[in-house]
Amino acid sequence: MKTKALMIVVLMVFAITLLTGCAKDTGETVTIEFWHNYSAGDGQVQVLDDLIAEFEEANSNIVVHPVFMDWGNLKNSVVLGATTGVLPDVLRGDIAFVPQFQSLNTLLALSDFDDYDAQADKVLAQPNSSNLMGSDYYGIAANTNTKILFYNETLLTAASVSVPTTLDQVWSAATTLTSGNVIGYVEPWTGIWNVGPYIWSEGGQVLSPNNTTADGYINSAIVVDVITTLKDLYAAGSLAGPSMDPGAVGDTDGWAAGTYAMELDGPWRGASNDAANIEYSAIPLPAGSAGSISVLGGENFMQFKTSDEAHRNAAWEFVKFMTETHAQVEMAKVGQMPVNLEALTDTEALAAMPLLPVFAEALLTAKARPVIPEWSEVEGIIATKVAEAITGAKDVQTALNEAATEIDAILGS
């Protein structure tokens, strides 16, 4: 008799726990999985946690579960998740991920949400263009960055070189600065992320306007000229970089050692120079014949097809919250350049990022790399061929022609 009564009690407790457990998932609270690579070292994770707490207070039925992964792991986890179906509800990742993840058929078209357009109007148009594929937007901008010309003030003063005002002056300054252990210019890679600004600022293009052809664009006379300039600099020892020459010093180490005098780079360069006590300053890339056009970087918020309706809506609420002025200003204080238009001119944000006006100016004309699924492979080909051209392993026109042929083979298929 006793055992029977005990069993009934146990079963009842079991049933109640089950029911309440089920009730939690259906209709009550929705837990959304958020993958990100906000840097803990810069205090960004702390700000994220505070923002999540605020969001959860304002939305009592949503719980946000953040998961940190570094850049490489973030990308690989989604690649893995595409096969297994284990994907987050919302992710903040590199803008270059958008076409890659879309080619894996995982992304949700955020423009399907009714209030997408209203939210997109609150952010910068150029950075948000990195989400546009076809006629749909597969994400919304989270934060942005671009590259500006950093220069070592100590080295420039020592060599009596004035701050360049045109792209040609940048190259002549690099030549003059190179002497002894000092190298005038460093480029860590040779993809469009690196040489794109020089090409675009001289009026060149990488692909045709509809991103279907490379022949006639990547191997045009303008691009040949630009790469030849870089090749001459490299031959004179005024340009160095670890991808062209594995024996060269990395850019961060080189800046700290006072080896490199100038570099086109993003906000992280300022942070590392501060840490290394380098006297530096920065200006937007001096204009070439077609203007000053730098390259867009940054991160976007993305959502995934594997989420059900409740999770999609909850994640969208979170994304909207993170792109509003308040969240953007808070993130700006820890080094995340805002995309929200109001946040860009906010006094607190400006106080936290002294170079923000320089970046903001460069952002007005910065260009996103082509948003196509094959872009990663295309940029890899360009990086290889441009490196061959710059180091003199191949003639510039030949290398670029080969690049055009290989790229067209990928885009055509």
């Binding site: 894996l104 991808s243 020459d245 594995p246 024996g247 010093v249 990086a383």
Partner: protein, 303 residues
């Protein structure tokens, strides 16, 4: 010998089924983590393998293999790997054997020598590769010595900047790291060579070199073959030294098969291509191993 059904029943009865209890878990583990992935990968190599969400992979037969064979970078990777193996394996073994013979001959402080030679073996690949990178870089230790200290040249030499000199640095690293492993293996094998043969040779008036080539080497022949095969397979699996020293740069000139495979799998997401390349490399290794076996058998089952 024919078994009758009666003998069969006896066999089953006397068979110790407890062996299976020990044997089966390991077999399951190996099947899951080695046989299944291998089989799946061979199948993958015949498809244009897509890994996207709910995407299908079309069957393309031998197309991946044709792509690999026609790919100039794959050729560079295979050539680099073959050169790496052909240089590091013999040098490791020869120096390892010499060191083992020398250490075998001393009585005092042999432990000190054995530890010093074995330390590189147990040090992490990443650490030593980074060390070599800093030594060979344009502003590294080696260039500092030859320009600032010894004044042999005026400008630093780009050791890692071109294909063959970078491979040279990688091969130096590979040999240096492997000497200790060979030394330990050969030291153990040398213990098994009977002292009587050396005494007999002494009585016949043989000198050190003759004793080495006619007694020592044949005596440890089995170990030599074992080391040869293990090191060759290991050589084909080189990844870390190249990845850390050059990353395959400049422009994929220093790729070895594993770094190129990694690039194709994780950066370019060409799964079918990497699978085909994997299979091709496996076949090459198999061929080399078979040839080695045949050669050493014919080399003389000498007394």
């Amino acid at each position: 010998m024919k078994r009758t059904s009666l003998t069969m029943k006896k066999y089953i009865k006397s068979f110790d089924w407890r062996i299976l209890v020990i044997f089966v878990p390991g077999l399951i583990f190996v099947s899951m983590f080695t046989f299944y992935p291998m089989a799946k990968m061979i199948i993958m190599s015949f498809f244009d393998w897509q890994i996207g969400y709910q995407q299908t992979s079309p069957f393309i037969g031998f197309d991946n293999y044709i792509t690999v064979i026609n790919d100039p970078t794959a050729k560079i990777a295979i050539v680099n790997t073959l050169v790496y193996v052909l240089v590091t394996v013999p040098f490791q073994m020869i120096i390892g054997l010499l060191v083992a013979v020398l250490i075998n001959g001393i009585t005092k402080r042999s432990v000190l020598y054995r530890v010093s030679y074995y330390l590189p073996v147990i040090t992490s690949w990443v650490i030593v590769a980074l060390l070599f990178r800093y030594i060979f870089s344009n502003y590294g230790l080696l260039n500092y010595f030859i320009t600032d200290t010894l004044h042999i040249v005026n400008e630093p030499i780009g050791w890692l900047s071109t294909r063959w000199s970078a491979l040279f640095a990688a091969m130096l690293l590979g040999v240096w790291k492997g000497i200790g492993w060979n030394m330990i293996i050969f030291l153990a094998a040398l213990q098994a060579v009977s002292k009587d043969q050396y005494e007999a040779a002494d009585m016949d008036g043989a000198n050190r070199t003759q004793k080495f080539f006619h007694i020592t080497v044949p005596g440890i022949k089995g170990t030599i073959v074992f080391a040869l095969i293990m090191l060759t397979i290991g050589g084909f699996n080189t990844y870390t030294p190249i990845a850390v020293l050059t990353g395959g740069n400049p422009f994929h000139q220093t790729e070895v098969v594993l770094t190129w495979m990694y690039f194709q799998t994780f950066d370019a997401l060409n799964m079918g291509y990497s699978a085909a390349l994997s299979v091709i490399i496996a076949l090459i290794i198999m061929l080399i191993t078979i040839v080695m076996f045949k050669l050493t058998r014919f080399g003389g089952d000498s007394k």
